[in-house]
């Protein structure tokens, strides 16, 4: 037993020395993660801002210009361009000169001022960017209806309306997209690091021929896998902690839950990811095949985790598949810990499936590795 622990310790040291020994391998643990973090955190947003809006106003009354003014002053719109006809407006959207357009017919003011008639406005938006068009559509509807009430109120009372419905947003009061993506981002980076430090580790030795040397050592297959696994989890945890520190102190996203709980989920999650990586590695004979394996695993696992699009939107059979996806649970736990301040029980509810996935994939990795050696 003691000898076994010593051998695993030696193997662990060997792996760590290989990983930290040369600048090239050392950098791979740090540089890509920081690039990913910075690139993602600034670029990942589904917000609609800086919109170029086109306007066709066929009405000469005051009402239409005050109505259009209520759009021009909104910060969402970067620029308002005027067109002479509806066709020109459509053409401009087609050429992507503008993203959306408002067409005000010539009887707008007359209808606004009449008691029984309804003023009509047409809003055209480029559906090629479907999500953005839905967001902007809702926003424009809100501005339009608010304007209608405002005009009515001002007509009746002679003073502008000041109050609208009171809106409070939980967990993220200013709706900053970065804050809601950031916990998922940590999870994403944890995944790539975890796979990276493990997926190539066996196939590299095989390609370089050092695998045979490992086999002639007194270490048993289980000890070799244990050494590789502990080293990979150790290295990846270090890399993840660095990223988390940047998120907490650099991007000022506070950790709502406890640090210990976060560390525990991260290590459990890495154990499952590293086992999957070792599985990929023992299945492949070359580094190219390992890379391919990683690529077959990572994008689907991320896509089916709720990172970019909500799980609720998936067809039910795919939703069922996400239950075995460790990324999904880690994503949920990280969001709970950073954003929602979820209770400890809720985090443990994510930890249990994570631990099960980790145990199963570890057994599978050991099995595959043993089979490979025979």
């Amino acid at each position: 037993m003691l000898g076994s622990i010593r051998r695993v310790w030696r193997l662990f040291l060997k792996e760590v020395i290989i990983a930290l020994g040369t600048p090239k391998t050392r950098n791979i643990l740090i540089v890509p993660q920081i690039i990913e973090l910075v690139m993602f955190s600034f670029a990942v947003s589904l917000d609609v801002t800086n919109v170029r809006l086109g306007v066709v106003n066929l009405d000469s009354g005051v009402e239409s210009s005050t109505f259009l003014l209520s759009f021009g002053t909104k910060p969402v719109f970067k620029e308002v361009r005027y067109y002479q006809s509806y066709e020109e407006l459509k053409e401009a959207i087609e050429q992507r000169e503008i993203f959306a357009g408002l067409a005000v017919p010539n009887d707008f003011s007359a209808r606004m001022l009449s008691k029984d008639e309804t003023a009509k406005v047409q809003f055209l938006v480029d559906g090629r960017r479907a999500n953005a068009s839905a967001i902007l559509g809702g926003y424009v509807a809100q501005i339009t209806q608010t304007y209608g009430v405002q005009a009515a109120f001002q007509n009746a009372n002679g003073e502008p309306m000041t109050s609208g419905p009171v809106v409070r947003r939980w967990f993220n009061p200013n709706l900053i997209a970065r804050n809601s993506f950031m916990p998922g981002l940590i999870c994403l980076i944890t995944t790539t690091v975890g796979i990276m430090v493990s997926a190539l580790s066996i196939s590299r030795e095989r390609e370089m021929g050092t695998f045979e040397q490992l086999l002639v050592t007194p270490a048993s297959p289980i000890e070799i896998v244990a050494g590789k696994m502990i080293a990979a989890v150790f290295l990846a945890t270090g890399s993840v902690l660095l990223i988390t520190a940047i998120v907490i102190f650099g991007f000022k996203l506070p950790l709502q839950g406890s640090f210990g709980l976060m560390l525990l989920t991260t290590i459990t999650y890495l154990a499952s990811i590293v086992s999957i990586g070792l599985m990929i590695s023992s299945l492949s004979t070359t580094q190219q095949q390992s890379t391919l394996g990683a690529f077959i695993f990572i994008p689907p696992a991320i896509m089916l985790s709720g990172f970019a699009a909500p799980i609720e939107n998936m067809p039910y059979w795919l939703k069922a598949c996400t239950v075995v996806n460790p990324v999904r649970w880690e994503m949920e736990a990280m969001r709970g810990l950073f954003l929602r301040g979820t209770s400890t029980e809720a985090i443990i509810a994510c930890l249990i499936p994570l631990a099960i996935v980790a145990a199963v994939s570890l057994l599978a990795a050991i099995y595959m590795f043993k089979r490979r050696m025979e």
Binding site: F42, A43, S45, L46, D47, V48, N50, E63, I93, E94, Q95, R96, K115, A119, K120, Q122, F123, L124, V125, D126, R128, R129, A130, A132, S133, A134, I135, G138, A141, Q142, Q145, G148, V149, A152, N157, M161, G164, P165, R168, R169, W170, F171, N172, L175, I176, A177, S180, Q287, Q288, L292, P300, M303, L304, A308, A309, P310, N313, M314, P315, R340
Partner: protein
């Protein structure tokens, strides 16, 4: 004549290399299919039937009439809660994503001439959803208010406005229809950049590059010889991707096949060349794959505008997006799939890609080594 012969030999050699390695074939054919499948089914940003709790603290007919105006909509699914605390608990547990509270002094305050008397709570954990639901609820409340003002005559001479929203090319606002064309760019980038970088870097690692270099092959021939097979593979994947997305997801395809092929070829020209360039510099599979992922896959995923909004990025990152061909290619794809052949727009985008392509090709030829 000699050149053509030598070129043919290199192309043939690369071709055999790809077709005899199952993992390369997997990257070229199986991976795109898996990715398209996952993107198509797993990636939808549609906001429909958002579970919204409504708390009526005031049960007057006025409050009821507002509640009824919310009931029928494709955006939200109303759930009734008796107590505010109950609804708030449901929101914490993600059972509902928004709450509308009609306070107990609703009728009284409205009779005093107040307007904004309801409270709206949204789940900011998902900003996209929160923003859409918030705007929907505000608009619904305002629309109800303007109807009420008109009925009671309080509004004086004032107006109800009907907004007719027309979403061009995508009337039902199905996000999948714009996300799937976008994902084709991602898939082609994986094949073009990653596969090429890996295969060529392996030659360096294994030392078989030396053997090729010993032959009397010029820089240009070497480059073109490596380029052609992977380019053709990418093109095959592009056609396969189109076929699959029509077959599985019923995405519209309003443009012409010629436009699709043209823009895809130009995009692949850049992606493949980028792969050759990376492998010539790195000469090591694990580093080459890292660089390929960082410069090929990630920018295509994040900076292309296929999923995330370029307009919402900080200025400096917006500038970075101009360097990567994905930005232009995604515009082409979305236009060809959804709008049709808008040649003026397509040719401008293809033109930009050609400029980037010219730069990358020059760099790659210069860096294609003739010596060790």
């Amino acid at each position: 004549m000699k050149t053509v012969e030598r070129l043919g030999a290199i192309v043939w050699k690369e071709w055999l290399q790809v077709f005899r390695d199952p993992s390369a074939l997997m990257i070229a054919f199986v991976l795109p299919a898996i990715l398209l499948f996952i993107f198509g089914f797993g990636l939808s940003l549609d906001v429909t039937d958002v579970k919204t709790g409504v708390v009526l603290e005031d049960a007057s007919p006025l409050a009821r009439s507002f509640y009824n105006s919310l009931d029928a909509s494709k955006y939200i699914e109303v759930k009734f809660y008796a107590e505010r605390t109950e609804a708030e608990l449901a929101m914490r547990d993600e059972i509902i994503r928004a709450v509308v509270v009609v306070p107990n002094d609703f009728t009284k305050r409205i009779s005093q001439g107040e307007i904004g008397v309801v409270q709206i709570l949204t789940d900011g954990g998902d900003t996209n959803l929160a923003f859409i639901v918030e705007n929907y609820l505000r608009a619904a409340f305002m629309k109800w208010t303007s109807l009420r003002l008109r009925e009671t005559g309080e509004g004086g001479l004032a107006g109800k406005i009907d907004l007719e929203t027309k979403t061009m090319y995508n009337p039902a606002q199905i996000t999948r229809h714009s996300l799937i064309p976008g994902s084709i760019a991602m898939i082609l980038a994986i094949i073009g950049t990653l596969l090429t970088a890996l295969v060529v870097a392996r030659e360096w690692e294994r030392g078989t590059m030396e053997a090729t270099l010993a032959a009397s092959v010029g820089k240009f021939e070497m480059f073109v010889g490596k380029f052609i097979p992977y380019f053709l593979l990418g093109l095959a994947a592009a056609i396969g991707g189109l076929f699959l997305s029509k077959l599985l997801f019923d995405v519209p395809f309003r443009g012409s096949f010629a436009a699709y092929l043209l823009s895809s070829s130009v995009f692949l020209l850049v992606a493949t060349t980028q792969g050759i360039f990376i492998s010539s510099i790195c000469r090591d599979q694990s580093v080459a794959s890292q660089v390929a992922v960082l410069s090929g896959f990630l920018p295509n995923f994040i900076l292309s505008g296929a999923i995330f909004e370029i307009d919402a990025m900080p200025k400096i990152i917006q500038l970075v997006t101009y360097i990567f061909p994905a930005r232009y290619y995604v515009v082409c794809l979305q236009t060809i799939f959804m709008a049709g052949d808008v040649w003026l727009l397509l040719l401008t985008q293809i033109g930009y890609m050609c400029v980037i392509g010219a730069v990358v090709v020059c760099a790659a030829i210069l860096k294609t080594p003739k010596r060790l």
